[in-house]
C-alpha cells in the first residue's frame, strides 16, 4: 500500500481551504476556472432545492423529506469527479450528487412525493442507482456492480455513498471486505455528518471510520467534507487508483448535518443548538465562494447569477413536483414480475376490478 493518500495526523482531515476560504494546501486540483465555478453553481442550486423541498413537505406536497444542508461540498465535490460511465449507489440523502449526475429532480422527487419507490428515474441511463432506504444495503450492490463492470473490461468505477451510521451495519463490512479481497474498482464514500438520527458518531463507533480500510487491505483517507476542493481531489485520486486496477479506497468526508434527520425529526430532543451554530461556521458554500472571489475565479456577478438561477430552478422543480400525478393503479402490478405468473394476473384482475 505505497500509494495511500496522504492524510492529517490523528483525526485531522485533509484540507485545502480553511473555513474562511483561505488556502492551507495546494489548491490546484486540476480543474479549469469553468469547472471551479460549476462546483459553486451546483452547491448553490442544491442548497436552494433542498430548502424548497422542506417547504414543499411542510405544505403537504412531499412526504417525509431528509435534508442535506451542510453536506453540499461532500456530495458535489465527489460526484463532480466522476466520469461519464462511473456509477453511483446512493442512500436517501444524495440529492445534490444526483443533480450533478444529471438526474432530473422532479423525477427524483417522485420518491419523496410518494408517487413511486426509490427508482423513479432511470438508474441505468443516469448511472445513478435507486434511492436506498435499508441502511448500508447499497454497498453490496455497488460491489457487485463494480465486479460486473470489471468482468466486462470497462474501466468504469463504482462509487457508493453512505453515512457514518451505516458503517455499523454488517452489509458495510461484507461489501468492504469483498471490495478489498476482489480488488474492485470502487470508491466507498462515507459522509460522516456527525449524526445518525439521534446518535452522535461518537456513540456509533469508537474507531475512526477511515481507519477501517486498512483492515480490508486498502487505503482510507479522512477529508474535510466541507472543503469541496479537498473532497474533489480525494475522490479523483481514489478514482484513478481504481481505474489503474489497484482496487478500492475508503473516503471519510467529515461534514455536518445542519438540519434535523428529516422533516419528521425534531433534533432539539437530542442535540444542542450551539453545536449547529458552531457547524455553520464551516459552511461549505461560504468557504468556497470566498476563495473563488479572493482568487478572482468568480466575481460577484457570477455569485448573483447562481443565486438567481437557483431561485428559478427551485420554482421550476416545485411546479414539476406539484404536477406529478399519482401513478396508474396498474403500476402496482406492472413492475413486479418481468414474466408474471397467471395466478398473479388473476389477482391483478381482482384488484383492478
Amino acid at each position: 500500500m505505497s500509494d495511500v493518500p496522504e492524510h492529517g495526523a490523528g483525526t485531522e482531515p485533509v484540507r485545502i481551504l480553511a473555513p474562511d476560504g483561505s488556502p492551507v494546501g495546494d489548491a490546484d486540483v486540476g480543474l479549469s476556472p469553468e469547472e471551479l465555478r460549476a462546483l459553486l453553481r451546483w452547491m448553490v442550486l442544491a442548497r436552494r432545492l433542498d430548502r424548497e423541498c422542506i417547504a414543499l413537505q411542510r405544505q403537504g406536497e412531499l412526504t417525509v423529506y431528509p435534508g442535506f444542508e451542510g453536506q453540499e461540498a461532500a456530495q458535489v465535490g465527489s460526484a463532480f469527479a466522476l466520469g461519464q460511465l462511473d456509477f453511483v449507489w446512493p442512500t436517501f440523502r444524495e440529492l445534490a450528487a444526483a443533480l450533478v449526475r444529471g438526474v432530473d429532480a422532479v423525477q427524483y422527487l417522485q420518491y419523496h412525493r410518494g408517487t413511486w419507490h426509490g427508482g423513479p428515474y432511470d438508474p441505468r441511463a443516469t448511472r445513478f442507482g435507486p434511492i436506498c432506504i435499508p441502511i448500508a444495503t447499497q454497498l453490496p450492490h455497488a460491489a457487485g456492480y463494480a465486479l460486473g463492470q470489471r468482468l466486462d473490461g470497462t474501466n468504469a468505477v463504482t462509487i457508493a455513498y453512505f453515512g457514518d451510521g451505516s458503517t455499523s451495519e454488517g452489509d458495510f463490512h461484507e461489501a468492504a471486505n469483498l471490495a478489498g479481497v476482489w480488488r474492485l474498482p470502487m470508491v466507498l464514500f462515507c459522509q460522516n455528518n456527525g449524526w445518525a438520527i439521534s446518535l452522535p458518531s461518537s456513540e456509533q463507533t469508537a474507531g475512526e471510520i477511515w481507519r477501517r480500510a486498512e483492515g480490508y487491505g486498502f487505503p482510507g483517507v479522512r477529508v474535510d467534507g466541507n472543503d469541496v476542493l479537498a473532497v474533489h481531489r480525494a475522490t479523483e485520486r481514489a478514482l484513478e487508483r481504481a481505474r489503474r486496477g489497484d482496487g478500492p479506497t475508503l473516503i471519510e468526508a467529515m461534514t455536518y448535518r445542519i438540519g434535523a434527520h428529516s422533516t419528521a425529526d425534531d433534533a432539539s430532543r437530542y442535540r444542542d443548538d450551539a453545536e449547529v451554530e458552531h457547524a455553520r461556521v464551516t459552511d461549505p458554500i461560504m468557504r468556497f465562494r470566498n476563495w473563488l472571489l479572493a482568487t478572482g475565479i468568480a466575481d460577484d456577478r457570477f455569485v448573483m447569477a447562481c443565486d438567481e438561477e437557483a431561485e428559478t430552478y427551485a420554482l421550476e422543480v416545485r411546479a414539476g413536483v406539484i404536477a406529478t400525478p399519482a401513478p396508474p393503479a396498474d403500476w402496482m402490478f406492472d413492475w413486479v414480475y418481468a414474466a408474471p405468473p397467471s395466478s398473479f394476473e388473476r389477482q391483478r384482475a381482482e384488484a383492478l376490478g
Binding site: 408517487t115 432506504i133 435499508p134 446518535l199 401513478p327
Partner: protein, 319 residues
C-alpha cells in the same frame, strides 16, 4: 397507543430491575414513534440505551443478555429493518432454549412497528408476521387498541419465551381513553369485539378498526358480523376460531400482508380443520396483494378497504 406502549415499558422497567430497553434512537430521542419517550431520563442510560445501527448485532446481544439473566426489550425501528436480524431471530432467538434444553429462558421482547397505512416510504409498510409466526419457538402478538397494547406488551415482557410484538403504526396516534391494566386475555387469546350471527370477520392490528367499520356497514344490510381480534398470531386461539366458525358458518379473514402464505391461509386452513362440517362457504381472504408494498399514493388500493371487506362478507353470506 403510543402512550400505552410507553406506559407498559415504564411499568415493566419499574417492576422488574432485570428489564432492559434498547434499540436505535430509543434513548435520548425517545424513539421515532415516541414509544420510549422519557424512559432513559427515568431509568438511566444503563437500562435504556441507544445502539448503533446493527439490527443483527442487537438481536444477538439480546440472546447473550438472556444468558446473563437479563430481560431485553429490543426495538427494531421499522418492519423491514427487522430483516437484517432474521438469522439471529430464526437461528438463535427461536431455537436457543431447545438447544440448551431449557437451561436458559430466552425472555426477549422484540418490538417492531409494523404494517402500513401511514403513507410511509418503501420499507416502512411491511407486514412481517408470516416470517415470525411460521418460526417455531417464537410467540407473536399484534395489538389493535391501546389497552391491548399495554397488556400484551406487559405480558410479552413477563413471558419466559421470546415474543415478537407487532405494533400497528397506523394506530400509534389513536386517541383512546380507559384504564390500562395488566389482566384480562393473555398471549394466545383472541377476543370477540362485536357479536354477530351471520358471518365472522377475523383481523388483527390496524385492520381491526377497519373490520369494525365494515361490520357497521353490514349491519345496515341486516348482516350481523361477529368481529374477532386475533391479538395473538402465534399461537392462534383455536378455541375462538372454532367456536365462531361453527356458530356463524361463514368467515372472512383480513390482513395487510400479501395473500400467499399469509396468516389468513393458516386461519383458513385451521378453520377448515376445526369446523369443516359447519362451514357454509369457503373462508374468504381479504388481504394485501402479492406485490411489494406500493408507494403511498397507491396505498389505498393495496390495503383491504371497508368496501372490499364488505364485498367479501356479502359474497360469503350469499354463497
Amino acid at each position: 397507543m403510543s402512550g400505552a406502549l410507553n406506559r407498559a415499558l415504564y411499568d415493566a422497567l419499574a417492576e422488574d430491575p432485570r428489564v432492559l430497553v434498547f434499540g436505535e434512537d430509543v434513548g435520548r430521542s425517545g424513539g421515532v414513534f415516541r414509544v420510549t419517550d422519557g424512559l432513559q431520563a427515568e431509568y438511566g442510560e444503563a437500562r435504556v440505551f441507544d445502539t448503533p445501527i446493527s439490527e443483527a448485532g442487537i438481536a444477538g446481544a439480546a440472546v447473550g443478555l438472556c444468558f446473563a439473566g437479563w430481560r431485553p426489550v429490543v426495538e427494531m425501528q421499522f418492519d423491514a429493518f427487522s430483516y437484517p436480524a432474521m438469522e439471529q431471530v430464526v437461528d438463535h432467538v427461536a431455537k436457543m432454549r431447545m438447544r440448551v434444553r431449557g437451561r436458559v429462558d430466552l425472555s426477549i421482547t422484540l418490538r417492531i412497528p409494523a404494517f402500513g397505512g401511514i403513507k410511509g416510504k418503501e420499507h416502512h409498510g411491511e407486514s412481517p408476521e408470516t416470517y415470525y409466526a411460521h418460526t417455531a419457538g417464537l410467540k407473536v402478538v399484534a395489538p389493535s387498541s391501546a389497552l391491548d397494547a399495554y397488556r400484551l406488551l406487559r405480558q410479552a415482557i413477563a413471558d419466559p419465551d421470546p415474543v415478537i410484538v407487532l405494533e400497528p403504526k397506523a394506530r400509534y396516534w389513536s386517541k383512546e381513553s380507559g384504564e390500562l391494566a395488566n389482566d384480562g386475555p393473555g398471549i394466545g387469546d383472541a377476543r370477540v369485539l362485536r357479536d354477530g350471527e351471520t358471518v365472522t370477520l377475523v383481523a388483527y392490528g390496524a385492520m381491526v378498526t377497519r373490520v369494525l367499520d365494515a361490520a357497521a356497514v353490514l349491519a345496515e344490510e341486516a348482516i350481523t358480523a361477529r368481529v374477532v381480534d386475533l391479538r395473538s398470531l402465534s399461537p392462534l386461539d383455536d378455541g375462538v376460531l372454532e367456536r365462531c366458525a361453527r356458530e356463524t358458518g361463514r368467515v372472512v379473514v383480513v390482513h395487510e400482508a400479501p395473500r400467499s402464505v399469509g396468516l389468513g391461509a393458516e386461519v383458513a386452513a385451521r378453520i377448515m380443520e376445526l369446523a369443516f362440517d359447519h362451514l357454509q362457504a369457503p373462508v374468504a381472504r381479504v388481504t394485501g396483494w402479492d406485490t411489494p408494498y406500493p408507494p403511498a399514493s397507491l396505498e389505498p388500493l393495496y390495503l383491504p378497504s371497508v368496501e372490499r371487506i364488505c364485498d367479501a362478507a356479502r359474497k360469503v353470506v350469499a354463497y
